[in-house]
């Protein structure tokens, strides 16, 4: 995650349409999600990171989308299977011949 996190650009500098990174603002904004998902080629990831570190216009969009994706993950990650579901899974496996270490093998 940290290698995707560009330093915040200097807000006192005017935003350039194409900071010295090889990618322009339109491309950065279009590929922001793929960047945050680490789905771009390594050299393109680096170009995106460089652009975001230099561009005070694109960085807030990056900042927002990063927080948005983290919020999706955070609101669902704590959702666990109820204990009765776990028990039913183990019971059905037992009937199929499975012998768990203990009756509470899945916590």
């Amino acid at each position: 995650m940290s290698d995707k996190q560009p330093p915040r650009p200097d807000a006192s500098q005017p935003a350039a349409a194409k900071p010295k990174s090889g990618v322009d603002c339109a491309t950065v904004l279009e590929q922001l999600w793929e960047y945050l998902d680490s789905e771009l080629l390594p050299e393109h990831m680096q170009a995106m990171r460089t652009h975001l570190a230099l561009c005070s216009r694109c960085y807030p969009h990056y900042d927002f989308e990063k927080a948005f994706l983290e919020a999706i993950s955070a609101c669902q990650c704590t959702r666990c299977a109820p204990d009765d579901v776990k028990c039913r899974v183990i019971d059905s496996l037992r009937r199929a011949g499975f012998s768990p270490t203990s009756s509470k093998s899945t916590g």
Partner: protein, 202 residues
Amino acid sequence: MAAPSEVRPESDLTFEREALPWLDDVYRFALSLTRNEADADDIVQETFLRAYRSWHTFEPGSDARRWLFTICRNVFLRNRERNRHQVDLEDGDIESVASQGRPVPRTEDEAILARIDLAPALTRALDQLAEPFRSAVTLVDVEDQSYEAASEILGVPIGTVRSRLFRGRRLLQNMLVDYARDAGIRTPHVASGPATQPTRSP
């Protein structure tokens, strides 16, 4: 020939060690497919039963969670076919509305969303999302699967995963903006990241 009852087969040990720890993950994925706890329960049970019965086909060292997600998706599709459940959108509709990349950002919407606590609204919005979008969002954003892994699990091309994912995220943002506006939240003058506390207009 029968093994003494206290001796556990090696396959049971590896199944317990490598497959069962993913029960919560499979349950979350099943819920994203069904939006219905009772159906998710059935799918999770059937997924683990099928996984246990075909454990000998699992390649040691490969990704057990991905394998379980794939089984889970197949069980869901089979059950849906059997029950003739309706989905909110067919694939043709989805692909016709999906864009190639991230939709053009809307600063005003981002600014509104930056002022609300996303968690409760997001949970509700995710539940309202049509299944093809929800399963892509769940796999990539919650279960941290790559596009390639999600493509294998869902049995669709990577381009379809990408378009469902991006469309799903955009739909979520639209629903959150509606939620925020309904709550009386208006556009502020600056946007950064989502806040932890909602800010209402006077």
